[in-house]
Symmetry: C2
Subunit: 493 residues, 2 copies
Amino acid sequence: MAKELKDLTKRSEDYSKWYNELVVKADLAEQSAVRGCMVIKPYGYAIWEKMQQTLDKMFKETGVQNAYFPLLIPKSFLCREAEHVEGFAKECAVVTHYRLKNDPNGNGVVVDPDARLEEELIVRPTSETIIWGTYKNWIHSYRDLPVLCNQWANVMRWEMRTRMFLRTAEFLWQEGHCAHATAEESEARTVQMINLYADFAEKYMAMPVIKGVKSANERFAGALNTYTIEAMMQDGKALQSGTSHNLGQNFAKAFDVTFVNKDNKPEYVWANSWGVSTRLMGALIMTHSDDNGLVLPPHLAPIQVVIIPIYKNSEQLAEISAKVEPIINELRALGISVKYDDSENKRPGFKFADYELKGVPVRLAIGARDIENGTVEVMRRDTLEKHVAPLDGIANYVAKLLEEIQDNIFQKALKHRESMTRTVDTYEEFKKEIEKGGFILAHWDGTTETEEKIKDETKATIRCIPLDGDETPGVCMVTGKPSARRVIFARNY
Amino acid sequence: MAKELKDLTKRSEDYSKWYNELVVKADLAEQSAVRGCMVIKPYGYAIWEKMQQTLDKMFKETGVQNAYFPLLIPKSFLCREAEHVEGFAKECAVVTHYRLKNDPNGNGVVVDPDARLEEELIVRPTSETIIWGTYKNWIHSYRDLPVLCNQWANVMRWEMRTRMFLRTAEFLWQEGHCAHATAEESEARTVQMINLYADFAEKYMAMPVIKGVKSANERFAGALNTYTIEAMMQDGKALQSGTSHNLGQNFAKAFDVTFVNKDNKPEYVWANSWGVSTRLMGALIMTHSDDNGLVLPPHLAPIQVVIIPIYKNSEQLAEISAKVEPIINELRALGISVKYDDSENKRPGFKFADYELKGVPVRLAIGARDIENGTVEVMRRDTLEKHVAPLDGIANYVAKLLEEIQDNIFQKALKHRESMTRTVDTYEEFKKEIEKGGFILAHWDGTTETEEKIKDETKATIRCIPLDGDETPGVCMVTGKPSARRVIFARNY
Ligand SMILES: [Zn+2]
Ligand SMILES: [Zn+2]
């Protein structure tokens, strides 16, 4: 059942509360009985499915194939790559036993102490280790390369503070794991995938992103280099939306994966990995939505158009339905997903509010008067503007409107980001500006010490060293030491 | 790299060994480093993806929506439904801790004893409990019903003896969980889904199945009634390929899920659940494949047609490729997936054997002579027959041939099943016949005692009480007591 619209907290009152409420009220997800784990409800899952299908197609167009690797990873695997275990292995779900038995005291079931595993198994927090353990069997010669695998999977990281979609103990994601014969080829794939993610974010999510490189401190555990796409939410905080890691030969060395190259010499394989997760759902919600509820980009909306008949009796409804049917067919022929909501147990006003809450991009309302006049009321969700349009040619009109909405919300998000991005030269100014949120372009001396100091004092992190934009050198705002170029600072999710 | 064809064990020598080898040699899956868990390789996963996409579409056409529920289930949830815990909860992966730490002795990482969970969590063996715990929040009134959810997920059951695809500790599946206002509606959905599975098995997998009801003994833990589809493998053993369970009000009562009905009275909700898994991959392999490798039904083959050029030099290859290009386009326009394998590092004979091993339904080979004559050599994988066809109109010819192959392998499997299905009246005869494999139609008195006795003495189980076919009553072959109708006995996977 749809929740009451009037209960949604306003963004200006409490942005965080607004987000948490919206996730639940729009039927996207809810907390489960398991700490930190969410249930993704059908409407939320339908959006995730559209993301999945789109990305999956984009991956396959670059030659990637899907596969599936085990959920559980032997504890010893995590220790093979030293940096990886340092950065990763600690907060995770540990399987120690493989059997329950009836409680001898009659209280349900208890863990059978006789069924203790010799080696504990870890619910995968990411799969580099198990996958590189497998690639050892697959790769022998340069002819076996590249291996371009992706898996769609659930992973677990035992986060202490969780928020639906943004940070949950279990989440859904895809993880790509490529193996190459040369460092150059692996680096090229790493960059190709961050570009693919940026394209997806901008063209489908209508979410502008900045592509960049992570500082050493924020790198993936075991990577030589981590590329990222960073988006800005409406409250000015950054959200890391996808990453692609150049892993060098670290995992190949850890799992002894070598190949015989064209010169007949053994060499370690070059690796990269890349992923996006259900976190993108959080990014999508926070980029576009408003005090009336979700605003979904047409390219990812499960329902792109809802048609609501306004009628007083079943005769009127029949008349409207007859008029609407060919329009629905025309819209579907254009590849547009349409819902005709003629349910009788809800009033039109309730339906209007409910589809607004759910972010359906276009609403058409048709009453008896409209039939007489050959018109329809069109409401676009992004601006909430209503106007009357002729029924004649309405399908093509809606098709164009959907593209206009897709473009408009992207431009709106871009303008917002631009208006909240500033260049700052002194640390004093920085401390003042960071309180207002947004991205701050500032010079930094490139050391982890300075980065940590800034983080401790201001809660701002280096989001990335941008791939594009101003590359003028300068001096660090904190230490005065030389800086190769400005980097982006922000507080983040 | 493709494995040597000559190494594949013959079915007549050792059917079980043939299967295990074929799974690995055809690049479908392999054992992982985790006991009982497999890696599904890209080629195997591509077949599973085709199954998934087809089923997902079929589900959605009946109004089902996808959702996602947590991987981990609180131990106490499993105990709520008494029969369910009896039948299910014992052999499973138990999460007891949520953190690792550096070994104080410097040997990698150890489980942090301070991070013990208050309540253990179980990796889902199936999700009825967590889902009905969630449905309690979703269902209040008859207006909230039906709820028709499905999830595509991984599940774990700690099996002692495992075989790839057929029985693995972790496997992939879909589990549908529906909630209804009436017993009739729930029963109708339960039957609808077993019919859907049978349609899928027959139309896509080309695998004939018998629809039936499980005996009380073989029922899902917590169900009133379990429907099944049973297929016969080439060795005469049965393979349960999909089940649909009418759960009555058992889970609603266990999790206190009630709704206010149209008469404004509270009532427990009616439930059903239904699922198929990567086990279907095993069924697919064992139904059609032969001593040369996989035989895939065209409707599920990732590559439906492979085209192999036979050339002596690059000039010939260029000429052949130019001729082949429009044919590829024509085939793709017909929705047929084509691979043109002009790779130079493998000889045609090797390619032929490799695509045979991988079960590609149709192979086209084109040489210089063919170009002159306007012909092409066509090989169909199901019969291994080769013949020469005119290049002119080849795309439509292949499209028809694919349908012919789809039909032919179904008919072949059906004939095999019919030839191995016998009617038996005495227990003596039964004991003799069961040694030959196949399905045996016999009378049974309907008691678990007799069923168990037969199982102990002959290793045969009741596969199902068929929904269709001969319904003449008779007397039990073991006890002479009345029998309502013949049931199907077989040894099974
Ligand atoms: Zn578009
Ligand atoms: Zn067909």
